[in-house]
Point group: none
Chain length 209, copies 4
DNA sequence: CATGAATGAGGTTTCATTCAT
DNA sequence: TATGAATGAAACCTCATTCAT
């Protein structure tokens, strides 16, 4: 849980009234849209507010500064993906290794593709202030969940569960990112899940004692 | 070589005279240093020129704009890594699969770590204008080199060499990036090569008919 | 009483109902507190309202704009000091000159020190819009009162009572301000009354024919 | 000398080239002009630049921020006055007390009136950040100079030279300020020097043992 | 060729004030 | 009446880029 995050990056209020919630959500969505249509270097608070149909002032009532807005968007995205993987991991406890891997890959890719817009827009924001924490937190969440799952595999046993599950988690990132950014051969898009399963399963079987 | 790149991003001249080369290199290094010490959002042309010991005007004699400078830096970095892998791939032709993988991982990680400063500084620049091409170009270069190598493996044969070699290339990226950005468990740093080898080899062996 | 003051700066109502009076006073006190703790450049209507425990909207029901609020605060402060001096002057009629001076100095310094917070916070507001009038009005009030007092002195007689009493009034300001702003040697704080008496008495005796 | 002043408030460069010097001086003068014609609360960096006939960017090449500009203006003014008094004090060493006082009053009032524009514009800036130091520094400079002078008076001797000279220095401020801000009865303008002399001399004679 | 002063559009952020609820 | 979300003009400041010297 993001209990600890730099004060300066926290939203200014957690809106509970309905009007506020509409507003804050509009800003949120607008941020992603601008990110997509204009790119990171044209993402200005004014533009986000404009697209959200509110004034800049309103934006600043909910987020103390631009970073905080990006932080929130990135946080939500990472949390979404991490939670999806976590849930899949929980469900796959005690299943055979191959089933586990298929489940995780499926969850990961689906989450990324479902929020493909966000995903594509957000790669590359990590280079900004203090986002490292968020990425680290999400990685740990996923790593831990995967570790907890792997130890319950009936048909495999791992020497160094921490390293193994971290590799498992990060191995999926490269190919997926390449596909989402359309730098990969188009065919890979269609067989991505298959391939990722093969990648991770091959690795995990090698690492099993 | 990136035969096609937006005219606006090309350097103004390919300096062949010695004084020019010294200057252009100083700017180049200064750019990386600023990137590292100040971060992307504090990278200004003036600051780069200052650190390079020249005036802004001079900088603009070699690069038509800021993007071109970043473009050049990124290009050189990617090219360095890609070429290192390519060379390793060439050398590994006709070797057994495992030897191939070890050689490639070694080359990739070594290149990244040797230029660890550049690497760390440059992740996240890709989110800027027109860099996608460069990344794609480097990926293709690597992918092609790996493909050409893999088909010569005496102990393996692949159905879809394009997809397989692209997966091979991108699979290494995720874990390596995590380590370089220090988001990985510290132990992973030490066993990274080992683990990447296991990851890629496991995959390739599964994919071999 | 400031019979003439720009319409825009007048409070919206002279609250006579008890609830209103509580509110307006809370705003008033909050204004001074914010001025002290945050400084003039952080004095915002929202902050004042917050600290007063009311909403901005409410604040604007009692003061048509920010200037009016400051105006009122400054007015009350100056009036307090002026009235204190005026009262002391009245009481000192027909007393010997030295007694007069001691009484005035005592009243002036006491009033300033009692409301030392206000005083410190308010110096420097006069540089804002239309406050000159208030200062002038207060000066005149004091000057007039002092003049009326001085002419009753049994042991002195002055050629130009207007000039003399104005000098009397303003001579105390400089040293007092310096002490309040802690720019004076600390010792001066303790002997301020003594010194001011000496200053004014020396002057007045010289000016007496 | 203002050897120590907050780094953030120091000018960015001490221009030595002629073009720069013209520019920096234009900005300086423009600042005072704006202060006079528009008032403190309308003093914006853009407006100053405009009036100086340069762009905002240029302004910021010489002053890192608005405060620094004001700081510089105030510093120069205070220094001017302080130095004038200091010089007069030096010249008056060993003269009789009355001559001393006349000389100091003359220097003080003349300095203020000569730079009456600056003086009028600058009263009230002290309420801004970190200017207290400057005022304190100037006060000390004057106080010290006056003290050094007073001890050489052949016809007077003071118990507490620090307090006495500080009182001397600050006593002149109140009436002078009142006159410059035109809150005083008009006649006072003409007899100001006379009156200030009387004020200070009366005080000093009383304090002399 | 090199310099660096000058430019000014454009970015972030604040805050006095209004008005629907 | 009281509220506080929304407004948007306007402030401060940066920085890629040019061009006279």
């Amino acid at each position: 849980m993001p209990a600890s995050s730099p004060a300066a990056l926290r939203p200014r209020r957690n809106p509970s009234q309905s009007r506020s919630m509409v507003t804050v959500d509009a800003i949120f969505q607008a941020c992603i849209q601008v990110l997509l249509k204009e790119g990171m270097h044209r993402l200005t608070t004014t533009r986000v507010a404009e697209r959200a149909g509110v004034s800049v002032g309103t934006l600043y009532q909910y987020y103390p500064n631009k970073q905080a807005l990006l932080y929130a968007v990135l946080e939500r995205h990472l949390n979404g993906v991490a939670t999806a993987v976590e849930t899949a991991a929980l469900r796959a406890h005690h299943k055979p290794l191959e089933t586990m891997v298929r489940a995780i890959v499926e969850a990961f890719v689906t989450a990324k593709i479902e929020s493909i817009d966000e995903a594509r827009a957000l790669y590359g924001i990590a280079s900004e202030l203090a986002c490292a924490e968020l990425v680290t937190a999400a990685s740990m969440k996923v790593g831990t969940a995967l570790g907890a799952m792997l130890v319950t595999a009936p048909d495999a046993r791992f020497k160094d569960i921490v390293v193994t599950s971290y590799m498992f988690a990060t191995a999926m990132v490269g190919p997926t990112k390449a596909v989402l950014e359309e730098q990969a051969p188009p065919k890979l898009m269609r067989v991505l899940r298959e391939q990722l399963t093969s990648l991770c399963l091959g690795y995990l079987q090698r690492e099993s004692v």
